[in-house]
């Protein structure tokens, strides 16, 4: 098993969400769900992050920001789209300033449904992301 499977560090960025999913992500860190006991740490620094959690849809102004965060993360990395906004644009898909889901710009590995996504679902998404992270790590080793 790879070391980062034991303790993935996550980075959260809010695309253009309504906050509903953001506070779901934050709630995962608080005592009721407490993912830190599994070694999951929320970091603010892209260089430290293994998993990128994105909430909300993308618009022209935040695409470069998201792209930059993604580029700054070291390999292997996993992207998880949290909530239906990040998946497809959701209820806002027809808004003039919404480009669409995260997968318009970044390769998304895990989609977490829900509006708002529940903390349980988000944790499940992170767990799914772990095995993908593991695969990517092994692929890197083989190179």
């Amino acid at each position: 098993m790879n070391f980062n499977k034991k303790s993935p560090w996550i980075l959260h960025y809010d695309g253009s969400s309504c906050n509903g999913c953001d506070i779901g992500v934050l709630a995962c860190l608080t005592p009721l769900y407490d993912v830190e006991r599994f070694g999951v740490i929320n970091t603010g620094n892209p260089r430290h992050a293994d998993i990128l959690l994105l909430t909300g849809s993308l618009n022209a102004q935040n695409i470069p920001v998201v792209q930059q965060i993604y580029d700054q993360m070291p390999e292997p990395k996993v992207v998880a789209a949290i909530g239906i906004c990040a998946t497809s644009g959701g209820i806002f898909a027809e808004c003039y300033n919404v480009v669409g889901g995260v997968d318009k710009v970044l390769p998304v590995d895990v989609y977490v449904p829900g509006c708002a996504a529940r903390p349980q679902a988000i944790i499940d998404g992170v767990v799914k992301a772990l095995s993908i992270l593991d695969e990517k790590q092994n692929a890197l080793k083989g190179r």
Binding site: S16, C18, G20, P31, L32, S57, C95, V98, R118
Partner: protein, 359 residues
């Protein structure tokens, strides 16, 4: 006088989950000026009224912001009801008030946690959010959702709360109140917390008036404004006074918000005592035609909704002026001459909600 340096702050930064960008102009360690730049979360949902009919739009209005989601839905519904001259049944109004006050508790606890995090008091953050989860459980039991409820509808509310649940709510909140007292003690009396908040980011009464601050920001500077005193929903039946403080610093703003949590619990108690039996929603007929303007008190302050309808099922125009937008000039005022290290806590004391500001 030192050389001027510009430090970009954001859009991705550790203070808030939401992106905001500020250019901080510094002279040594002092901030001389802060230039905000927004637009990272703009979706353009006001224009969505042209694609969703006025009944469907209730659910879009709720998603203006996931923290005050209930109140956004309620404000929009009240505006449409104003146009169509619909009288909401009394029980519906009381239920709206109860949910609105529960939202206020959840929002203020969320803010208290984030503030504690901003001055580096992690366990206080955890405890505030632990309490908040109990409030979210109440929401889940009564509406089925944690943050987005879809329970407010034009003409009333879509779900009733039975008497047993209402009593459970009161007993849960009473228990919470006890735990909250311990937290309050830390927030208001702990030396290190005071060190970070007392005298930091003072907004004088004059400046608050001049910049048009609203909500707790204005009340902490001694201006007694609270839209709830207008008596919308069931507030006209309830006894309360706006909570104010004089100092206008970060500490005073914390004091006001903590006071409002207790006030909200008290208001819910009053509602549960006074709530009449009856229907919770009236049927609506036809389409709205005309315009209406509504002011509400959200956790962050006064919010304004404007709706213009043309007799079809699609509205002409929907407009929101959110409290954070009104508080940004006041924020820039407090940022002047502050230390760079105090910037995160100052940004937090206006309780910023970027998502509703940019919509």
């Amino acid at each position: 006088m030192g050389k001027r340096t510009v430090i970009p702050f954001g859009p991705q930064h550790p203070v808030l989950p939401e992106p905001i960008h500020l250019d901080l102009v510094l002279e040594d360690e002092k901030v001389v000026e802060a230039i905000p730049q927004i637009g990272y979360i703009h979706r353009g949902l006001e224009k969505l009224v042209e694609k969703r009919d006025f009944k469907q739009y209730t659910y879009v209005a709720e998603r203006i912001c996931g923290i005050c989601s209930f109140m956004h839905g309620m404000g929009y519904c009240m505006a449409v009801e104003g146009i169509m001259e619909i009288e909401v049944p009394e029980r519906g109004k009381f239920l709206r008030t109860i949910w609105a006050e529960v939202s206020r508790i959840h929002s203020h606890l969320l803010w208290l946690g984030l503030t504690a995090d901003a001055f580096g008091f992690e366990s206080l953050f955890m405890h505030s959010w632990r309490l908040r989860e109990e409030v979210l459980d109440l929401f889940e039991q009564t509406t089925g959702g944690r943050v987005i409820f879809s329970v407010c509808d034009i003409g009333g509310v879509r779900k009733d709360i039975d008497a047993e649940m209402l009593n459970t709510m009161v007993s849960v909140l009473t228990r919470m109140e006890k735990e909250l007292r311990d937290l309050t003690d830390v927030f208001l009396n702990d030396m290190s917390v005071k060190h970070r908040t007392v005298g930091v980011g003072v907004l004088s009464k004059e400046k608050a008036q001049e910049t048009g601050a609203v909500g707790p920001m204005a009340r902490a500077s001694g201006i007694s404004v609270d839209m709830r005193t207008l008596g919308y929903a069931a507030y006209k039946h309830l006894q309360f006074e706006p909570i104010t403080a004089e100092a206008g610093d970060s500490y005073a703003r914390m004091e006001v918000r903590i006071g409002e949590v207790y006030q909200a619990i008290e208001l819910i108690r009053q509602c549960v005592e006074l709530i009449p039996e009856g229907d919770v929603i009236t049927k609506i007929k036809g389409n709205p035609n005309g315009e209406h303007f509504i002011r509400l008190e959200q956790p962050r302050g006064e919010v304004i909704y404007y709706v213009k309808a043309n007799g079809t099922s699609f509205l002409d125009r929907f407009r929101v002026r959110t409290p954070t937008f009104a508080n940004v000039p006041a924020l820039l005022e407090t940022l002047k001459d502050c230390d760079l290290a105090d910037v995160p806590i100052l940004i937090l004391t206006i309780d910023p909600c970027i998502s509703c500001t940019e919509r």
